[in-house]
Each structure stands twice: as structure tokens, then as C-alpha cells.
Subunit: 217 residues, 2 copies
Amino acid sequence: METLKHYTLQDILQMDRFFRMHFVNTISGYKSAMLVGTQGHRGAPNLGIFNSVIHLGASPPLLGFSVRPLTVPRHTYHNILAKRFFTINHVDRENLTAAHQTSANYPEHVSEFKACGLTPWYSEKLPAPYVEESKIRIGLEFIEEHHIRANGNILIVGKVVEVHIPEIFIKPTGHIDLPAAQSVAVAGLDTYYAGDLIGRLAYARPDQAPRWEETGE
Amino acid sequence: METLKHYTLQDILQMDRFFRMHFVNTISGYKSAMLVGTQGHRGAPNLGIFNSVIHLGASPPLLGFSVRPLTVPRHTYHNILAKRFFTINHVDRENLTAAHQTSANYPEHVSEFKACGLTPWYSEKLPAPYVEESKIRIGLEFIEEHHIRANGNILIVGKVVEVHIPEIFIKPTGHIDLPAAQSVAVAGLDTYYAGDLIGRLAYARPDQAPRWEETGE
């Protein structure tokens, strides 16, 4: 029989700082690992890894992600406000260690691209660098920001203005085949996973039992 | 050589509606699949599956998730405002089909618990039902809401007030072992994945190369 642990808020606040960080960061489950590319007001490219990208709407296509409080300069945030555009680039098994390394605290004049061995790549559409080593690249226009009053985190909302993606990763249904693209999931700040397909469930209806779709795998 | 497709915003808006829905919902990568439990102002338990849960802070522990625009009643939203508490429960391989079925459009008087074969479970702490079939259960107090002006989506922010979790899923570092808990990831609205551990990378420092940690697997 499993021992069920019960943690109260008080218990969580009294955890060792690092234990709490990992516990709270992983309890909300798997996230996408994404590289956010921006450009400073003088044109310097900047890159950071984020695990908080969410879908906010399909029409218009909106994505959001959160940045940490402005208690220190957050280059990603300042650059997005300066240039009004940013990119979201998939972390995959090949670029994973370089992508994770962008989380190191580099001085402002150091480009994470150069320091981590990644290559900035530009389209004609927007003043923000993509990551050439990412197979799936999304360009976004900054739309709005929301400051979380409880702790100063900021939700950035962007509208997708273009997508660069190898055609072979798009299924006839429109689904992107994330395992084929070798995109990775992350739990917390440091633990990376590949996705192992369980299956696709049909659109749920009140009068029908759950049903698995054919996925061709 | 892979064919790189380039989609503009115009291309995306002109996609077939269902193709676009799957394309935009999956392009932001893996998400956690979670059941959100709430209670109506007259006490009726409500349950819905969400793929937008994000981590917003560890101290205090804050999580967020987004609900769709209020163009129709959204029971999860109204119940959270009425009772000020909600639960987040992990979807795992065992409860997956029942969890997905909660996305069917049941009439208001039908409990998704009963209709989908899941069991409400209450702690003494909060007026919101947990899911007995979920191994990992998080209780939250509603803290704030942010309305996305671009499309009317709403980000709900909650503070974790308690966690129920089998002790065997917590590693000595505080990390939760998601594959051991059989928690699932989801891409878009319907495609579910198990996590296959790649590894844990050490805290990144500017003067050190990326390094894998021992995870004991």
C-alpha cells in the first residue's frame, strides 16, 4: 500500500529551498521546452529557455509564456517591449544541451547564441532571431502583458505571425508530430523527457463512450 | 532534404478550421493534462480537463491555467469565483479515457464525475472536489484572474494550499517522478503521451559546459 503524503502550504514553505523549488516546479507536470529569441534595442540577439509556453487561442493564433519578476533586468522582457516581436523555437534532442545552457547567467554583453553554440537565423518578417538548430520556429508579435500581482511574474501574450516547420512533421489532420520532430518535454527546470505516444482520443460527446482514433503509428 | 514549410498569419487564418485548431494547439509542444475540480454555489461538483496549467512561482507556490472566453457559461470559472477554491488532479494512464471524456459538453445539471465514472474526494481544507482516481492532487486558493484582451481567454491564478501525493513519487531532490506516477502529457486537445526520461541537466553556469546529473535510472 502506498503511503499518501499530505503537505500543507506551511509544510511547503518550510521545505528546504532547493527541494521546494523542484517540488513545486515539477508538480504541475510536463511542459514544453522552448527557446525564446529576442533582439535588444541596439540589435543584440538574446536567447533564453522557457517552460511556461501555453496555447491561448487558435483564431487568431495566440501563445503566452511567463517571465520572472523584474527585480533584476530580464533581457527577454525588455527586448520584447523594445522590438515588439519575439520567436519561440522548439528544443529537441539535438539542441537540448545547448538550449539548457542558455539558462546560465551570462553578462548582458554576451550573446547566449555565441556562448552556447547556437546560430541566430532571421526571416524578413520580424526583428528577432530564430534558432537555426530548431526544426520548428514560430514568429510572434507582442500583443499584451499581464503582471501577476501575487509575485510580480509577467504573462507575455503574442500573436503568431509566421511558422517555419518541416512539412514531414505535419499530419493530414493538422497535428504536429512532436516525437518525429524530437521535440522535448520538461518537468521543472532541468529534467527532460521524450514523448512516447499513448494515442489520440476522439472528440468527446456526452452520448458516446471514449474512443481511440487511428494515428497511423 | 526536408522541405521547410513557411506559413504566414494569413495562411494560418485560411486553414480549414479543424486543421488550424490542431496545428495551433500542438505547435506549442507538450503540456500537462490536468483535471480541474470545482464546486458550484449550490454545492454541485464539476470537473474539466485542461492543458494550460503553468508554474508561476515556488514561494509562495502559484499555478495558473487558462479558461476560454465567457461567450457561454464556463462552469469551472463561475465555480472558482463562487467558492474561491479549486483542485488540480493529475491525469495518468489509468484515468486517461475518463479524464478526456470530461471534455464532452454535458448539461449543467449533470456531474462530469458521475457521467465519466470518476469519484469526488474531499479534504477538510477546501470546498472543491478532488479526483480519487488521480494519484497526485493539488488544492488551490483562487488569487487573481487576468482577462486576455485579444480574445477573452482568462488566466486563473491560484496559490497551492495543500498537496496529496504518494511518497514514492517524490525523489530525494524534491523532483516528482512523473513517469513513475504515470502522469501523461498532451499535445493539443486529444493526443496523449507518456514521458520517456532523457535526463536531468545540472544547473547551468556561464563558465561550465552542460553536464548530465545522475538520476538513478
